[in-house]
């Protein structure tokens, strides 16, 4: 397969199984793209006669999805380029069928003012691979003390504000961030954890962490902070994205909040869907993530929440950490796991196991996050960006961390057998990856 250079000639992807959660369509069809957008969606067997100036890609029955939208990605740029650059992350994304990434603001410098937003957007344009958008910091330096320039950053193009892994401890600050961001229509994201309970923890409290002698945080720390955040949402009327819900207790709180009509949505990470605390085994630091891997009961609750739609968005929580930060005793090792390249096959595992319908899984990584952030991507519709993934749903693969595209190879999926291979990734009509 050759990489088309996007010379403006229309391309048709024929003989494919279209899966478009936005319209609910799952069936045979074809897609025609031109000028970076989808110009036609043909549903059904008969693609009709194609004019001779259209390039044709015969999908041979493969699955054609909207490109994935991953709204929680860390790179090392700016400031820690040895971990990952925007370019290496974009390459990993392209290889994983992810066509839009939203990068986290906790870089050096922190994305807490419009010039850093500009920097990232400019770098992304130069790289010309996948769509890269920054999330801005909610507070200056992600320190949780003073509000960042939320309005100016939104104007410059940041998609939401968050302090990433740093909880906004001061309730007064959180209240102000929520009500201020609301007036600009900016979404706030917050990962709930009670810092007093979670400080210094490397694992989730329970029999396993006790036996292994690891400093641990009780699962309830997530619920405690979430309850505060929900109360502040009620007070301010602001929209809140609950970043990475991972425990049964917090999910119960979230359900109650949503049932009361609060404008909240929740994400979870592919790591917390795929692993539990026992995967840490003999202190495998590649399984050290934040929040820490939970009990199997919690993991099952998270899977159920995705199946029921309570959790509407799934993220890779891509967080590169080089070997020198991971090859340390467990409590000293850096948290985080790379995930851009394994997100899709890891997700497909729940389809292959028969746990979650394919269309619901794909919704959580395409139109659901796109709609949440007001992006036109994530759907197979006329006029939408031609961001597409062609994949073989059933092709087996064995994850080899050393062969991942990311600069850092810290994948907890290393050695895991998965099914689902990306054949081609298209961004704005241009093929950016062909496997």
């Amino acid at each position: 397969m050759t990489l088309s250079q996007g010379d403006g000639r229309p391309t048709a992807f024929t003989n494919v199984r279209l899966l478009d959660p936005a319209s609910g369509y799952d069936g045979p069809g074809a897609i025609v793209v031109g000028d970076g957008v989808i110009t036609d969606v043909v549903k059904g067997q008969d693609a009709g006669p194609l004019s001779s100036d259209i390039d044709v890609v015969d999908g041979r029955g493969a699955l054609l999805l909207p490109g994935l939208v991953d709204i929680r990605v860390k790179t090392g740029e700016p400031g820690a380029e040895t971990k990952e650059t925007l370019k290496s992350a974009a390459l990993a994304a392209a290889a994983g069928g992810v066509t839009t990434i939203v990068v986290q603001p906790d870089t050096h410098p922190v994305v807490d003012e419009p010039s850093v937003v500009d920097f990232i957007l400019r770098r992304a344009r130069d790289i010309e691979l996948v769509n890269v958008y920054p999330a801005g910091a909610a507070t200056k330096g992600c320190e949780g003390l003073r509000m960042a320039e939320i309005g100016l950053m939104a104007e410059a193009g940041c998609l939401y504000v968050t302090d990433a892994d740093r909880p906004i401890v001061d309730s007064k600050v959180m209240r102000r961030v929520l009500s201020y961001a609301r007036s600009f229509g900016v979404l706030v994201a917050h990962r709930p954890t009670d810092p007093w309970l979670s400080n210094g923890a490397a694992a989730s409290e329970g029999e396993f962490a006790s036996r292994m002698g690891l400093p641990a945080v009780p699962a309830i720390a997530e619920k405690i902070m979430l309850e505060r955040d929900l109360a502040l949402v009620e007070l301010t009327g602001a929209r809140l994205m609950v970043d990475q819900l991972t425990t049964a207790a917090a999910l119960e709180s979230f359900r109650r909040g949503r049932d009361r009509g609060l404008p909240v949505i929740a994400t979870t990470s592919i790591n917390h869907l795929s692993f539990n605390e026992l995967d840490i085994g003999d202190y495998r630091t590649f399984c050290k993530v934040e929040p820490p891997l939970r009990s199997e009961d919690d993991r099952q609750a998270v899977i159920e929440a995705v199946a029921s739609g309570l959790i509407s968005v799934i993220v890779s929580a891509h967080a590169p950490a080089p070997a020198e930060d991971k090859r340390l005793p467990y409590d000293e090792a850096a948290p985080g796991a790379v995930g851009l390249q394994t997100l899709l096959p890891a997700l497909l595992a729940f389809h292959h196991e028969g746990r979650i319908p394919l269309i619901d899984l794909i919704r959580a990584v395409t139109c659901a996050p796109a709609d949440l952030l007001g992006l036109p991507a994530g759907r197979l519709a006329k006029g939408a960006p031609a961001d597409l993934v062609l994949c073989d749903l059933n092709a087996p693969l064995r994850v080899d961390a050393d062969k991942l595209v990311s600069k850092s190879k810290n994948s907890p999926f290393d050695g895991r057998r998965l099914q689902g291979k990306v054949l081609r990734t298209v961004v704005a009509g241009r093929t950016v990856f062909a496997g």
Binding site: E207, A209, S210, M212, P329, Y330, D331
Partner: protein, 325 residues
């Protein structure tokens, strides 16, 4: 003159081969291996009480003590064990030397490994450190305490002390008291004592009992008198003083009042009770001197003596495995 005690000779001539390259965790061992280690250690106790204590079982071997945390007691115990077996012993304290300035644990290990030691004895403040290190070196690694995880040679010497005092371990009732939460000694002892058929209870304030410890098949008591009632062994744990200043317990005096071992509380145990402590003791905080120094009750001095013998047994077994490679 080298005269090997006859009991020791008998054990050494058994066709027992220790199948492991490293000595990292009690959970790696089985009952037969533990019984053999204890028999071997018993023989070394007799040797250590002789005028001439030196053997050449580890002749030509190099033992490296790598203590990232200070511990005079454990380090000298391993040093003596190595020397009495004829090994060359080197003590490294990476914290005070230039070895580990900015160097990771693995860098240090790889550097030392290049000096071709045969046995690396490691103490580190992080749980899992010994296991991590064992994956990166070619020599045998002995865990001399990793964070709050395990201290397997301590459990072995404790079992040896108990077996010598009671003639058996199966059926003994052992109360482990104090700071179980932070104690690697407790974790290793719980696993080993249960393997050998003892009944284990944990005693301490709820702030010092690990989460979900009730799933370890132990009885948990927050009242010390209840907890040690009728038990054969009271094993006290060390509580770091800084944890007692309102952090894990309100004060030293309150802790001693409710969880310190004194005559009055000890009277609830079985009449033949023996008291143990891994040391170093905080006298008047977790244990009354009156109890600690009463040789009819206390096994604390024995434990130190057994420590050298138990470690000799471990080193001998690992070295025999190296010979077979």
């Amino acid at each position: 003159m080298n005269t090997t005690p006859s009991g020791l000779n008998e054990v050494l001539q058994r066709t027992f081969s220790f199948p492991k390259r490293h000595f990292l965790s009690v959970t790696d061992l089985n009952e037969v291996e533990v019984a053999n280690l204890l028999d071997l250690a018993d023989g070394f106790v007799a040797l250590n009480r002789q005028h001439s204590k030196k053997l050449d079982l580890l002749k030509g071997r190099t033992l490296m003590n790598l203590f990232f945390e200070n511990s005079t007691r454990t380090q000298s115990s391993f040093e003596l064990a190595g020397k009495r077996l004829g090994a060359d012993v080197v003590n490294m304290s990476p914290r005070s030397s230039s070895i580990s300035k900015g160097e990771t644990l693995i860098d240090t290990a790889v550097t030392l490994n290049a000096m071709q030691p045969d046995l690396l004895v490691v103490r580190h403040a992080s749980s899992g450190a010994a296991s991590l290190l064992s994956q990166k070196v070619t020599c045998s690694v002995v865990n001399a305490g990793d964070g709050q995880h395990e201290h397997p040679t301590q459990a072995l010497l404790d079992a040896l002390s108990m077996r010598r005092a009671f003639g058996r371990i199966a059926g003994l009732s052992v109360a482990i008291c104090g700071d179980v939460l932070h104690s690697r000694v407790a974790r290793s002892n719980i696993a080993l004592l249960q393997m050998l058929g003892a009944e284990v209870r944990l005693v301490g304030p709820p702030t010092l009992i690990p989460a979900a410890a009730d799933r370890w098949n132990v009885a948990i008591h927050h009242d010390m008198r209840d907890g040690i009632k009728g038990c054969d062994v009271v094993m006290m744990l060390r509580l770091q003083l800084e944890r007692m200043d309102g952090v894990m317990a309100p004060s030293q005096r309150e802790y001693f009042r409710f969880f310190g071992l004194d005559r009055e509380k000890l009277a609830f145990a079985a009449p033949h009770v023996r008291v143990m402590h891994p040391g170093p003791m905080n006298r008047g905080v977790e244990i009354d001197s009156d109890v600690a120094d009463d040789l009819s009750v206390s096994l604390i001095q024995d434990q130190v003596e057994m420590g050298v013998a138990a470690r000799m047994a471990v080193l001998t077994s690992l070295s025999a495995r190296l010979d077979n490679d």
